[in-house]
Amino acid sequence: MAKEVRSIVITGNGTNCEREVANACRLAGAEVADIVHIAELLAGRVRLDDYHFLNLAGGFLDGDDLGSAKAGANRLRHAPVKGSAESLADQLYRFIEAGKLVMGVCNGFQLMVKMGLLPALDGDYRSQTATLTHNDSGRFEDRWTYLKVDPASPCIYTRGLTGIYLPVRHGEGKFLVREPQVLERIEAAHLAALKYCAADYNAPTMDYPLNPNGSTNAIAGVCDATGRIFGLMPHPEAYVHRTHHPRWTREEDLPEEGMGLWLYRNAVDFIRRELL
C-alpha cells in the first residue's frame, strides 16, 4: 500500500449512501475505495488501520429509532472486535491519532457528533458536547441548499472553496449545543466550516427554507481543530456530476464535475501530500 490512497466506507444496519460515497472517493482519485460491512470489521477480517480515509455515509442507522445515530454510536462504542480486546471505537481513536481523515455525511455526521468525535474541543474525541436533532419543521426534507465556506476554517476538505450547493435529506439536522461556550469556541476556532446561506453565498441565514432545519448559527458542517475530522448534513457525494444538479437541464454553463467532488478531492490530495 505504498503509494495508494486507501479509502473505506463502512456500511450495514441501515447505512445507505455507501455506493455513491465510494464512487466519489474513486472519482476524486483514491486508488482504493472499499465498501466494508461492519460485520467484516467486527469479525476482525478488515482493520481500519489499513486505510487513510474513513467515510461514514448517510442512512438510517438502526432506523434512527432512539434518535439519529444513537444506537449506531452505542454499537461502535461497545461492540467488541472478534479476536482482540478492543472495540471498534478503539480502532477509530487510533485512526484519528495517526493523523488520518474521517468524513461523516448526514447520518455519518450525526454518528460522529453523538460519539463525541465532533467538535472534539481540547482533543477530546469521547465526550458528546453537541447534538443534531429534529428539524424545526418537524419533518424530513429533501431540498438543495447553498453553503458558505468559512475561509479561516482549519477544515482541510473545504480548502480553497467559497461556497457550494448541495442537497440535504434529513429529519434531524438541527445543530445544537448545551453550553454557550461550546458554540463560542466552535466559532472562535472556525470549526463551523459550512453554514447555510442564500444563493449569493454571502452571509449565513436562519431563514427557512434556506436554512432547512433551524440549525444554530446556520451551522451545516463542523470539523475538529485538526481539520481532518469533518462532518456535514448536506450530501457532497450527491453532486459529483452536472446531471446531479437540480437545474442541469437549464443552466448551460455548469461544469461537468459537481461541487461535492471538491471535498473528496481535497481529502485525497491531502492524503497524497501528507500521509503517503
Partner: protein
C-alpha cells in the same frame, strides 16, 4: 417488575414533535391547545441491574445535550392532561427492538426469551382540556385502537411518585399447539359455516370441491401411511384457503366471463388475464422478434426486461389498500417494504434502485359526516404519506415518481400503490440471473424477521374480536431496518452462489412461498416447529399462513447450508433451516415430527374451480352539459390549478428522499426554483454508464364513469406520453397494470355486478388493444378486486381505477428533457390534435358536470408523434417538454411557464382541432397524446421537419415578462401574472 425509563427534552429545547402534534390536533379535530410536549417511555421487561438501567437511560436511550431521563419515576409536569399511547400486544415495535439491541451491546449479554423493551409516548397537553376531550384526541388522532392503547391521566390524578402505571403489552395466553380435524362430510349450509367461521373466504363451489376431494376413499389411504386421520386438518384447510384465495389465485381475472355488449353481442372470455394481459405480451413479443427485450414476465414476483448487455431491470407495483384503510401508517409502510421484497425475490435477487408511489384519497378537507369505522381522509393522507416516507427513506431507496388522485369515493377505501424497480446482472455465476430453480434436496431456509400472529387472514378480521392480551392479527407494521440488514446479507449470499432459489413471504406466508417454490421439484417437507417465533403460543396453522413481514424463503443446497447460515449470523440476520424440497408430489408439513398436512400438490395448485361471472355492458346515460363560456377564463384557470388533482404535491414530495443513490437525473421537482411538476423520472443506475431508466405512470379514474374502455386507453397513453416527455425511448418500454376494482360479481350485496364486470371486461379489451398498438409489453401486474365499503345501508364503491406504470430506457441521460421553459424567445409548440373531449375532465368536474365526450386515444398517430419527439430529443432540439393531462392546455401552459420563471404569449388560432371548438374547450379539453414543447428559434426548421405530416402547431413564444397571455384570432382570452397562477397551484396542500 419492569423498569420504566422516561426520556424528555430539557425545558428550553424546542419540541418539534409536540408542536406538530398541537398543530395537527387543531387541523384534524379543531381543538386548540396551549402547548403539547412529548416524552418517550421505554418499559424494559428484563433482568437488569439498576446500574445497567441507569447506563442505558443515560447512554443510548437519551441524548445528554438536549434530554434528561428518569428511571422508575415520572418526568411529566406542567400539564393539564397526560395521554400515554403504546402498542397493543404483538404489534411490531421497531423502537423497542432497537432499544433491546442497544441494551444488549451495553451489557454484553442477550435478553432471555420473553424479555423485551416496549415503547410508548406520553403527550403532555396544556390548555382547555378535560378527560373527554383527551379521549377524542387520543382516539381521533394520537392513537389507532386497532394497534394501540392509551391511558389518560389528569394532573389531579397523576401520581407524583410513580407516574403512569401501564399494563405490559406482552403477548399472553397459554395455548398449546393443537391440530384440529375438520369434518367436511356435512351439508352445504354447514360447509359455508365452516368457511365463514374460519374466515377462509371460500365460496360454496370451492368448499364442495374440497369436500369431494376429502371424502374420496383413495385420499384417506394415502394419509394413513403418514399417520394422518381421514379428515382434513386445520393446517390443510388453511393452506387450501390461502392458496385458493382471490389474492393468490386471481379468481376473477381467471374466471370465465360471459360478456354481452350494448348491441347484444355475446362472447365468452376464458380468463381476462390469459386473454388480454398475457395475450398482449405474447403478441407484442412475437412482433418484436429479435428486438424483444422481455426476459421474465408474469411468472415471478416482478417482471424483468433487458437494460443493456450486462444488466437487466426488474419492476413491480403492488397495492396495499385494505390494511391502509385500517392503519394508514402501518398499512402503507408494509406496502412499500413489501413490494421491495418482490424485487429481491425475483430471479436470484436484485438490488433496489427506486420506489414509486401513487395514492388515491378522498379530500383531506372532507367535511361531510363519515360512515362508521372509516378514518377521516386527512388521517389516511397523513398516515399513508408517513408510512411510505419511513419505508422508502429508511430503506435507502429514492422515491422518484408518483401522484395523488382525489375522488370522494376513495373515502370508502383509499388506494395505496407502491412500486419498486431494481437492477440485476444479466448473468450471475454463469447463469441468467432472472431465472432460478429449486433442486430436490435443497433446504428450505427462512431468513429475516420472525413469525407472529401478524397478518393472519389479512383484512377479514374485525376489531371486536380483540381482547386484552390477544395480539392484533390483521394489521402489520413494517420494519425497514431488519429488512435492510437482510437485503445487505442476501446480495452477498447471491453473489457467492449460496442458494438456488429465493422468494418473498408476503400474502400467505410460508404456505405461499414454500408452496410456490416447491412447484419446481414437486413437493416439500416443512417442519413448522423449527420456525422462529416472536412469542410462544402460535398454532401450527398460524405458523404456516402468518404474513409477518421482512421474511424471505430460500432454497439452499445442502453443501452451502452451513456457509449461508454462518454469513447470516455474522451480519446480524436470522436464518433457519425448516426442511427440504422433495419430489414426493405432496405438500407435507410436520410439527414436532408428526405430520399435520399432507396434500397432493396437484390438487392444491390446480384444484380450484373456475368462477363464472356474467357481464353486461349498458352504456351509462350521460350527456354534455349546456352552459355559456365563462367570461373570465383566467379565473377558471386559477381555479383549476388549485384543484386537488392538479395542485402542487411539493409538501409530500419533499418528505421523500428522491436523490439517495445519486442516480436521479430528472427529479420530481424541476425548474428555476426547483418546484415545477416533473412528468416522469430519469434514473441513472450505474456509475460507469450514462444509460438511464425512465419511469412514469398514467391513472385517470374519472373517465371510468363514462367508459372504462377509454379510461384504460387514456391511462396507457398518459403513462407513455409522460415517459416520452422526458426522453424515454418509445421502442424500449414496458407496462405494468394494477387494477383496483369494486366487487364485480353480481350478488345481493352487489346488484350492479354485471355492469361492474362489463366495465372490467372493457378495460381489459382496451389494455390489450392499446398495448399491442403501442408495442408495449406488459411484464407484471396485480389486481385488487374488492374495494368497497359496506356497513349497514351505506355502500361506497371506488371508481374503477387502473394504474398503468411505465418503465423503459433512455440511451443517454444527458439527453433527458425537463418540463420547464428555459429561455425567452424560445418557440412554443403544441403536438397533437385537440378535440371536444371534456367528459370526465377536471374542468367539467369543477363546474359540477360529468359530460359524455370522454377523451379517446388514437394510438397510430400518437405512436408516430412519440417517435418523432424521441428523434428531436436525440438531436438536442427539445428545450422543454410537458404533457397535457388534467386541466388540458391551459394548465400545461401555466405549469410550464411558472416552473421556468418566464411568461408565455400564445395564439390558439393555429391549433390543430377537430370541428369547431369553444374557447374553454380549446383551453381545458383533455384530449390525450398531446405535448407542449419549446424549441430555440434557430432550430425551428429542423424541428418541424421531424413532424412533417403530423398534428403540430407553433403557438407562440416564451416571454421575458412573467405573464401568461393567451389569445384566439387576436382576441385576448386571458392575460395573467404567472406568479398568481403559481400561488393558486401551490396553496392547497402546502401545509400538509
Amino acid at each position: 417488575m419492569a423498569w420504566r425509563i422516561v426520556v424528555g427534552l430539557l425545558d428550553d429545547v424546542k419540541d418539534p414533535r409536540g408542536e406538530r402534534v398541537r398543530r395537527e390536533i387543531r387541523e384534524h379535530l379543531g381543538i386548540e391547545l396551549e402547548q403539547v410536549r412529548t416524552l418517550d417511555v421505554y418499559t424494559v421487561d428484563a433482568d437488569l441491574s439498576e446500574a445497567e438501567v441507569e447506563a442505558a437511560a443515560a447512554g443510548p436511550l437519551s441524548d445528554p445535550v438536549i434530554q434528561r431521563y428518569a428511571v422508575n419515576r415520572p418526568l411529566a409536569r406542567d400539564f393539564d392532561v397526560l395521554i400515554e399511547v403504546g402498542f397493543r400486544p404483538g404489534v411490531t415495535d421497531n423502537v423497542g427492538r432497537t432499544a433491546r439491541e442497544a441494551i444488549q451491546y451495553l451489557t454484553g449479554r442477550p435478553f432471555a426469551a420473553g424479555e423485551a423493551v416496549y415503547t410508548s409516548v406520553q403527550y403532555l397537553l396544556k390548555g382547555k382540556v378535560d378527560k373527554a376531550i383527551a379521549e377524542r384526541i387520543a382516539s381521533g388522532f394520537l392513537g389507532n385502537g386497532l394497534i394501540q392503547r392509551w391511558d389518560i391521566v389528569t394532573a389531579a390524578e397523576f401520581d407524583q411518585e410513580k407516574g403512569v402505571t401501564i399494563t405490559l403489552p406482552k403477548v399472553t395466553g397459554d395455548a398449546r399447539p393443537e391440530v384440529r380435524e375438520i369434518d367436511l362430510d356435512v351439508a352445504d349450509e354447514a360447509l359455508m359455516q365452516i368457511s365463514r367461521d374460519g374466515m377462509l373466504a371460500l365460496n360454496l363451489d370451492e368448499m364442495k370441491t374440497i369436500q369431494a376431494h376429502a371424502i374420496d376413499p383413495t385420499f384417506s389411504q394415502t394419509r394413513t401411511a403418514v399417520g394422518l386421520g381421514a379428515k382434513l386438518t386445520d393446517v390443510e384447510l388453511e393452506a387450501l384457503a390461502q392458496t385458493w384465495s382471490e389474492h393468490c389465485k386471481h379468481k376473477i381475472f381467471s374466471a370465465r366471463i360471459d360478456y354481452e355488449d350494448e348491441q347484444g353481442r355475446k362472447e365468452s372470455i376464458n380468463s381476462l388475464f390469459k386473454t388480454y394481459i398475457v395475450g398482449a405480451t405474447r403478441d407484442i413479443r412475437a412482433a418484436k422478434g429479435e428486438k424483444d427485450f422481455c426476459l421474465s414476465v408474469f411468472k415471478d414476483n416482478a417482471g424483468v426486461i433487458a437494460f443493456n448487455e450486462d444488466w437487466s431491470v426488474v419492476f413491480k407495483v403492488e397495492t396495499h389498500n385494505s390494511p391502509s384503510a385500517l392503519d394508514p401508517y402501518g398499512g402503507a409502510l408494509t406496502g412499500i417494504v413489501g413490494v421491495n421484497r418482490d424485487g429481491m425475490g425475483t430471479g436470484m435477487g436484485a438490488r433496489l434502485i427506486f420506489n414509486t408511489d401513487v395514492f388515491c384519497f378522498a379530500s383531506p378537507f372532507y367535511e361531510k359526516p363519515l360512515p362508521p369505522r372509516l378514518l377521516h381522509p386527512r388521517r389516511i393522507f397523513e398516515g399513508v404519506v408517513e408510512g411510505v416516507e419511513h419505508g422508502g427513506n429508511k430503506s435507502g431507496i429514492p422515491t422518484v415518481n408518483g401522484s395523488i388522485v382525489f375522488d370522494e369515493r376513495f373515502a370508502g377505501k383509499p388506494l395505496v400503490y407502491c412500486g419498486t424497480a431494481s437492477i440485476m446482472p444479466r448473468v450471475l455465476n454463469g447463469k441468467p440471473c432472472h431465472e432460478k430453480k429449486v433442486q430436490v434436496g435443497d433446504h428450505i431456509v427462512m431468513t429475516g424477521g420472525r413469525i407472529g400472529k401478524d397478518g393472519i387472514h389479512g383484512a377479514t378480521f374485525s376489531s371486536e374480536e380483540l381482547h386484552e392480551g390477544s395480539p392484533v392479527t390483521a394489521v402489520q407494521i413494517g420494519d425497514p431496518i431488519t429488512q435492510k440488514r437482510m437485503f445487505d446479507f442476501l446480495l452477498i449470499a447471491r453473489d457467492r452462489g449460496l442458494y438456488s432459489s429465493i422468494t418473498d413471504n408476503g400474502a400467505g406466508g410460508l404456505s405461499s412461498s414454500v408452496g410456490e417454490m416447491s412447484e419446481d421439484t414437486g413437493g416439500f417437507e416443512l417442519h413448522l416447529d423449527r420456525a422462529p417465533l416472536k412469542y410462544p403460543g402460535l398454532q401450527p396453522w398460524e405458523i404456516l399462513i402468518s404474513e409477518a413481514q421482512e421474511r424471505m424463503t430460500l432454497a439452499v443446497p445442502p453443501e452451502k447450508l452451513e456457509e449461508f447460515i454462518q454469513l447470516a449470523r455474522e451480519m446480524d440476520v436470522e436464518a433457519v433451516d425448516l426442511g427440504v424440497f422433495t419430489d414426493s408430489g405432496y405438500f407435507h408439513c410436520l410439527y414436532e415430527g408428526r405430520t399435520v398436512a399432507y396434500l397432493p400438490m396437484e390438487f392444491l395448485h390446480g384444484g380450484v374451480p373456475q368462477m363464472v361471472i356474467s357481464a353486461k355492458w349498458t352504456p351509462p346515460k350521460t350527456a354534455e352539459p349546456v352552459f355559456p363560456v365563462p367570461a373570465d377564463l383566467g379565473a377558471e384557470l386559477g381555479k383549476l390549478l388549485g384543484r386537488l388533482n392538479i395542485c402542487s404535491k411539493e409538501s409530500v414530495i419533499r418528505r421523500y428522499d428522491h436523490e439517495v443513490q445519486a442516480g436521479t437525473v430528472i427529479k420530481p421537482l424541476v425548474g428555476v426554483a426547483n418546484d415545477g411538476p416533473s412528468d416522469a423520472a430519469v434514473f441513472r443506475p450505474l456509475f460507469d454508464s450514462f444509460e438511464g431508466v425512465v419511469v412514469s405512470h398514467g391513472i385517470c379514474p374519472s373517465y371510468s364513469d363514462i367508459d372504462t374502455y377509454h379510461m384504460m386507453a387514456c391511462a396507457i397513453d398518459e403513462g407513455l406520453r409522460n415517459y416520452v416527455a422526458v426522453g424515454g425511448d418509445i421502442e424500449h418500454v414496458a407496462g405494468l397494470d394494477n387494477f383496483c376494482w369494486c366487487d364485480p360479481v353480481k350478488s345481493e350485496k352487489t346488484p350492479d355486478g354485471e355492469y361492474k364486470a362489463a366495465q372490467l371486461v372493457r378495460a381489459n379489451k382496451a389494455l390489450y388493444e392499446y398495448c399491442v398498438a403501442f408495442g408495449v409489453p406488459l411484464i407484471s401486474g396485480k389486481d385488487s378486486m374488492k374495494n368497497d365499503y359496506q356497513i349497514g345501508d351505506t355502500k361506497i364503491s371506488i371508481p374503477p381505477t387502473v394504474l398503468f406504470s411505465v418503465i423503459g430506457k433512455i440511451d443517454d441521460v444527458r439527453q433527458a428533457v425537463s418540463m420547464d421553459v428555459k429561455r425567452p424567445g424560445d418557440l412554443v409548440y403544441l403536438l397533437g390534435e385537440t378535440r371536444d373531449e371534456c367528459g370526465g375532465s377536471e374542468y367539467y368536474s369543477e363546474l359540477g358536470f360529468l359530460g359524455s365526450n370522454v377523451p379517446k386515444v388514437d394510438a397510430m398517430t400518437a405512436f408516430a408523434r412519440y417517435q418523432a419527439l424521441n428523434a428531436a430529443q436525440r438531436q438536442g432540439l427539445v428545450r422543454s417538454c410537458h404533457d397535457l393531462s388534467d386541466g388540458g392546455l391551459g394548465v400545461a401552459l401555466a405549469e410550464k411557464a411558472f416552473a421556468g420563471g418566464y411568461g408565455l404569449r400564445v395564439e390558439l388560432e393555429g391549433m390543430v382541432v377537430e370541428g369547431e371548438l369553444r374557447d374553454d374547450t380549446l383551453l381545458f379539453s383533455e384530449s390525450p397524446s398531446r405535448l407542449l414543447v419549446t424549441v430555440r428559434p434557430q432550430e425551428r426548421e429542423s424541428f418541424e421537419r421531424l413532424f412533417a405530416g403530423q398534428a403540430l402547431a407553433c403557438l407562440g413564444e416564451v416571454l421575458d415578462t412573467p405573464r401568461l397571455v393567451v389569445s384566439r384570432s387576436g382576441r385576448t382570452l386571458l392575460d395573467v401574472d404567472i406568479n398568481l397562477l403559481k400561488e393558486a397551484w401551490q396553496a392547497p396542500l402546502r401545509e400538509l
